[in-house]
């Protein structure tokens, strides 16, 4: 082929391209790790054709902090501070399964009062986590105001948690065998018995009334909004069988119609004494995931109300040795966290720290459905689906 031929051909080539069909090449769009809708550092490598996502590959691990490995060189009491930071919007709830696992391995049981305090704080963590979801999901869809309304009431709950534990996000309030023990139990210091702060239970009940009122507000402002319904109904449907196959848990699973709640099935906290219902959805779309969580907040406030009535008097702490050593053995304890099933698999060799700690975090398993779920969706829907799954990157990467 001569140069002249090539020139001729190239001239025709460009003509052919235009006349035969309009070339619409697919492009690769990097959503994240710096993107406002990925709640941190999730990265989605999306192949897009116009606005349609033809393929998506989630990339996780930008926030990997190596907690499982760190736990191997920490003592059991020190690990409480680590597990707090896994899902940071419900810090207290993360502590519970680990504490229960350790206590079961040691064969001790915390006093009833401590268990009730744990239950109240767990539900408050659930309320604070869900309120964050209830406010951030409309934000993904472009409505900024529900954020302010829900966070205003969330602040009351966080204030209560702070007043009791000293920390808003990372309470670090559990101790093996109970909750925060009597200060200065050693031989050189005077023993001071601590209990709940004065008026804590009353303030809690008041805050629950406020939380319920903001839930009513959300029903009107968000759920009743035509545009919100248009954007979420039928968007990102997870059928029940797919949800179970991908290991989706928590509200995302219940929105698909599977009534599965570890608070009802496992007895890691005295939930069996209390009455509450497990809300489920019908379609498993974004709208159901929102309304299920909204109803869960209301149920959580009822749980807290009942618990503040039923809470028995007594110690906050059972007797444990000063140096905690856990006998040889292994155990898996799971709990219903705001994001889903959170489990710790603890292997003990009899030392002061675990030989191996495997963390089963809810967000990581929930995200595994993303490549299947996002295929063929429109870009705005991708954002809506991401928002409706309610994950926290700390919980994904650990």
């Amino acid at each position: 082929m001569t140069t002249a031929d090539r020139q001729l051909l190239s001239r025709y080539h460009s003509e052919v391209q235009v006349s035969v069909e309009l070339q619409t090449p697919e492009m690769i769009l990097n959503l994240g790790p710096q993107h406002p809708s990925t709640h941190g550092v999730l990265r989605l490598v999306a192949r897009v054709d116009g606005e349609v996502i033809t393929e998506v590959e989630p990339v996780v691990g930008y926030m990997h902090r190596g907690y499982e490995k760190l736990a191997e060189v920490r003592t059991y009491p020190q690990i409480t501070a680590l597990v707090n930071r896994i899902d940071w919007v419900s810090g207290f709830a993360n502590e519970i399964p680990f504490m229960v696992a350790t206590e079961r391995l040691m064969g001790i049981e915390p006093p009833a009062r401590a268990q009730y305090i744990r239950l109240i704080l767990t539900e408050m963590a659930r309320i604070s986590s869900h309120l964050l979801f209830l406010s951030s999901f409309p934000l993904e869809l472009g409505a900024a105001t529900p954020l302010m309304y829900a966070l205003r009431e969330r602040e009351r709950v966080l204030d209560l948690i702070e007043g009791l534990t000293g920390g808003r996000f990372h309470p670090n309030f559990n101790r093996i065998g109970g909750v925060k023990p009597a200060a200065g139990a050693g031989s050189t210091q005077k023993k001071v018995v601590q209990d709940l702060p004065k008026g804590f239970l009353d303030q809690t009940r008041e805050a629950m009334v406020q939380v319920r009122s903001v839930c009513d507000e959300m029903v009107e402002l968000v759920l009743g909004n035509e545009i919100f319904q248009e954007r979420t109904r039928g968007v990102g449907i997870i059928p029940a069988d797919k949800a179970l196959a991908f290991g989706v848990t928590g509200p995302n699973l219940r929105a698909s119609g599977v009534s599965f709640d570890l608070r009802k099935t496992d007895n890691y906290l005295p939930y069996s004494d209390l009455e509450f219902s497990v809300p489920t959805g019908d379609n498993g779309d974004g709208f159901d995931r929102y309304s299920v969580r909204l109803e869960e907040v209301v149920q959580a406030t009822h749980i807290v109300d009942q618990a503040t009535d039923l809470i028995p008097a007594g110690d906050l702490q059972t007797k444990v040795p000063r140096i905690i050593k856990v006998p040889r053995g292994e155990i898996y304890v799971r709990a219903e966290n705001p994001k889903g099933e959170m489990g710790y698999y603890v292997v003990s060799e009899g030392g002061r720290g675990p030989y191996r700690l495997k963390i089963r975090s809810a967000s990581f398993s929930n995200l595994s459905i993303l490549p299947w779920l996002l295929k063929g969706q429109l870009l705005p829907d991708v954002i809506a689906i991401l928002g409706s799954l309610d994950f926290v990157l700390g919980d994904v990467d650990r």
């Binding site: 472009g142 409505a143 309304y149 248009e230 954007r231 429109l378």
Partner: protein, 338 residues
């Protein structure tokens, strides 16, 4: 003084200067209103310290801050287009004010085709947006620009068709003429002449369509997909900084002002209010009506989520266009019958 007012060029220059001062000034006021109104809707206080009282100087402070920022141009950007785009947006918006009558005499040019000109000039801004999206060499910007273009095509039609109803009713396309037609008595109740703006003369469907299309044209919530912070990270604005970003920002609020002024002239009686002297109180009356419309737009923005691009298209083509055609037919029939 009268020598200046008699000289055509001197008078024109004076009017243009007035527009060039008033439009950015009013835009700053609208920006401040948005800051404060959104704050109070969200149980916040909003800006509080700038300027001493109520944070009134906050928009000025923001503007000064933006001007100090580096004017970044991405390496792969189409430099001339990238640099011109914000000017196109702002110039297109400012050009609308040529025909907005603030009082019977306070109008730069009372064109016979006034409303025609306004709609044409108002959509130049979208060309600037498309230029910005294309030249930024950024995928998010490109998508934002394309969404803006799709939105323009979909909403220009209902916008124009909604205006046709008013034009038929008024029998003129001159903006002053349309206001004067609304100042005519609509009917007589005994001895009192009842004068009504076109909104109350049966053009409420046209008004609703106009407002919806206006929101889409201005990329305001619930039609802010070209910007869509949570999806496209500000879309075509992503790569802009400094003074050019300020121009876009000012252009957005000047656009709100311009479209509200056009809407109040067409549907709310413009500078006319029964019982008040138009040549004295005209500007105040018009600004009050503009303020009402701007408040509604701000209210929408902080209440509604945003639509999806395909939903926006279906609203435009399946609802607004047929509705506005029906509106035209009814208006024309009534005009002939009465």
């Amino acid at each position: 003084m009268s020598a200046i007012l008699d000289n055509f060029w001197a008078l024109l220059g004076l009017k243009v200067l007035l527009i060039a001062l008033v439009v950015p000034g009013v835009s700053l006021v609208i920006i401040f209103a948005e800051l404060k109104i959104s704050a109070h809707m969200q149980s916040r206080v909003g800006p509080y310290f700038a300027g001493g009282r109520y944070g009134w100087a906050q928009p000025l402070a923001d503007g000064l801050k933006f001007m100090q920022k580096e004017d970044l141009v991405p390496r792969d950007a189409d430099r001339p287009v990238f640099k011109i785009a914000p000017m196109v947006v702002l110039a297109g918006t400012m050009a609308v004010f040529v025909i907005v009558p603030f009082s019977p005499s306070l109008v730069v040019r009372n064109l016979d085709l006034g409303i025609f000109y306004a709609l044409a000039a108002g959509s130049i801004g979208t060309v600037g947006v498309l230029m910005a999206g294309w030249s930024s060499a950024n995928k998010y910007s490109l998508m934002g620009g394309l969404r803006a273009a799709a939105q323009l095509i979909a909403y220009e039609l209902p916008l124009v068709l909604a205006v046709v109803g008013v034009v038929i009713a008024a029998g003129t396309m001159s903006m002053v003429g349309i206001v004067e037609a609304q100042a005519e008595p609509f009917f007589h109740l005994g001895d009192t002449a009842i004068r009504l703006p076109y909104l109350l003369q049966g053009q409420f469907v046209g008004f609703a369509i106009f407002v919806i299309a206006m929101l889409a044209e201005l990329s305001r919530t619930p039609f802010d997909m070209p910007i869509a912070e949570s999806e496209l990270v500000m879309g075509y604005l992503t790569e802009y900084s400094g003074i050019r970003f300020t121009m876009f920002f000012l252009g957005e609020y000047a656009g709100m002002f311009a479209m509200s002024a056009v809407a109040s002239t067409l549907f709310l009686g413009g500078y006319y209010f029964p019982g008040l002297d138009s040549s004295t109180f005209g500007p105040i009356i018009l600004m009050t009506k503009v303020g009402l419309l701007v408040f509604v737009m701000i209210w929408f923005r902080w209440t509604f989520p945003r639509f999806r691009e395909d939903q926006l298209q279906s609203i435009a083509w399946r609802w607004l266009v047929p509705l506005s055609l029906v509106n035209i037919a009814i208006t024309a029939t009534l005009k002939v019958v009465f």
